[in-house]
Symmetry: C2
Subunit: 351 residues, 2 copies
């Protein structure tokens, strides 16, 4: 998190390739809510191991939403990284999204895709970008969505400079949710919807997506309340039963509200699934869950909770049914549509 | 290709699950340009083994663009299929797209995503859709994009009916091109852009995408000329050098034109790549290739070739740089954008 990365250590020299290597931990790392973590790229603090259910703890090692920001004039950038898990891909999500790295460059005030590094093994070395004009620019490198990072270094030619990007003044937006929020099934880490929104707003984000396990438990609410974000976005419905929505959403929101009297809290409905028209029972559950969320929202408002926002799920994925890989998990197409709906709401709130 | 599939053979009975199995070859198979193929789901005729380069022949076994159309009232549809290759996925493309099946249903005149079957092994059995209202509807099942099919059966509950969908009156649209056309990197087979266009126009299509090997060889032009399509779409530039574009496009088009004096032929420019702004040499090559295509187009027009159309590449992938997985290969987001540009051009031509 140092503002300027120190000079690379002698052992990090790669004389064969004349690359100088920089440890990502010494650059500006975003998407990390806690510093007191067991491993550096963990999403929950070490104490959470005793607090949350084992699958939540296991998923907290995934580096979803974490990103390394740096400034360089290097004509080429190489990444070398070691993953936590040997499962590099999922049947419906490629290794580029599960275990790969994704680089964006800031050009004329806009974040633009610049290159990606696919994972082919637990340890990888891959050229993210090369033959670039050697202009000093800011970059953001998104880390794997469904794998964890044991080590990550960036290598540049010996004559170039690389330093940590300046810390941003904004408090991050904290997103809490399911496999969808965690980024399943983006083609690369930068296409998870919180990441797209982060670029759209040019704002730091924290991704607390826990695949299959976002059931808004009280202990998770307590953990989230420890953070001090610009806004909370709660998008957990797809993992919850209707009864859980009715029972848990209000106390979860109240926990956050007690810790942060004025922080905006955004409730997101469950997406109407792409194949809902034909899988009736699934559609009915979705409608029921959303009705329960709307009722909880009404009760919270009636109880005097301010700065509470509500995003309907009907058009989150568009209206053509094309936006998912499996009827549930958005592809990049679905994530862009989600970001195009949720992003402008956040822009208005944060103004 | 029979209009009505015969009753399932006794050996195809799966009494354990009470499913009746139908061989896909006895249903209506689209996307197959030739009947005299070595294996049923090959894209080129058997004789092509002697005519085309070995990598082209190898790729012709991939079932890209093939689709099985049928009508059923079954509340559930299960697929059982055996693939040709053990490589189920690619680092930047999931197994659902490389080796999976993708089901659409026709509802109120529109094709809608209904379910997918991911590949987890060389032989798979997976429920494509279940708990569906038992209404008689037409379905289309897209086959793997980067793998081949050795065998494919569809299973339905014993009390339901399933038959081949009626043959469509239209001649197919033939697409010739690269890895992009073949569907790299769609999340599932129905999101390759020729498939999206096929649904948009409700029109049969043939996908002759050959990853890395669409260099418009004369022998490939001869093969394509054997077909009698409603239109040819030529989208091969990304695999060709500028010199090849200059030398080969005109004779390729003339070969098709001599065989089919009036069939529309659409030339598609190379997409301006997502990261072209930062990878200058790649952008320059793209501009050069497109200029060579435009010059070839002008010479063909001057030579009196009619019914020739031209689609510029500048906005094929949109303008935000978000539409690819790696700067080159579109995701579903990029493919939808390509279909939204090329589809309406074909609609006007085919009216």
């Amino acid at each position: 998190m140092a503002a300027i990365a120190g000079p690379p250590s002698a052992s990090a020299e790669d004389s064969a390739k004349s690359l100088r290597w920089f440890d990502a931990r010494e650059l500006t790392v975003e998407g990390k809510g806690w510093t007191n973590t067991l491993a550096f790229f963990d999403r929950y603090p070490a104490k959470a191991e005793e607090l949350v259910r084992p699958p939540v703890w296991a998923l907290s090692h995934d580096s979803a939403g974490m990103a390394v920001r740096f400034v360089t004039d290097a004509p080429a950038i190489t990444a070398r990284w070691t993953l936590r898990k040997e499962a590099l891909a999922m049947p419906h999500m490629p290794a580029t999204g599960v275990s790969g790295l994704d680089l964006y460059i800031k050009e004329q005030g806009r974040w633009q895709f610049a290159g990606r590094a696919p994972a082919r093994a637990v340890t990888n070395e891959f050229s993210l970008i090369h033959n670039r004009a050697p202009l000093k620019r800011e970059f953001i490198l998104y880390l794997p969505l469904y794998n964890g990072i044991k080590a990550l270094e960036l290598g540049i030619p010996g004559s170039a400079h690389l330093e940590a990007a300046p810390l941003r003044p904004q408090k991050p937006i904290v997103f809490y949710g399911t496999s969808i929020l965690q980024g399943g099934c983006a083609s690369r880490p930068g296409m998870a919807y919180p990441a797209i929104i982060g670029r759209y707003l040019d704002w730091p984000t924290i991704n607390l997506g826990f695949s299959g396990n976002a059931i808004s438990e009280p202990e998770v609410g307590q953990l989230l309340a420890e953070l001090d974000p610009a806004a909370y976005v709660l998008d957990a419905l797809p993992n919850m039963t209707t009864a859980q929505v009715t029972q848990r959403i209000e106390p979860f929101v109240q926990t956050l509200r007690q810790a942060h009297p004025k922080t905006p809290i955004v409730l997101v409905e469950e997406e109407t699934y792409a194949n809902a028209r034909f899988v009736q029972f699934q559609h009915e559950r979705c409608v029921r869950d959303n009705a329960a969320l709307k009722a909880a929202y009404a009760r919270l408002r009636k109880a005097g909770v301010k700065n509470l926002y509500y995003i309907p799920g009907d058009h989150l994925l568009g209206d053509d049914g094309e936006a998912t890989v499996d009827g549930v998990h958005p592809t990049d197409l679905g994530f862009l549509r989600m970001a195009e709906t949720i992003g402008p709401v956040l822009r208005r709130i944060l103004k």
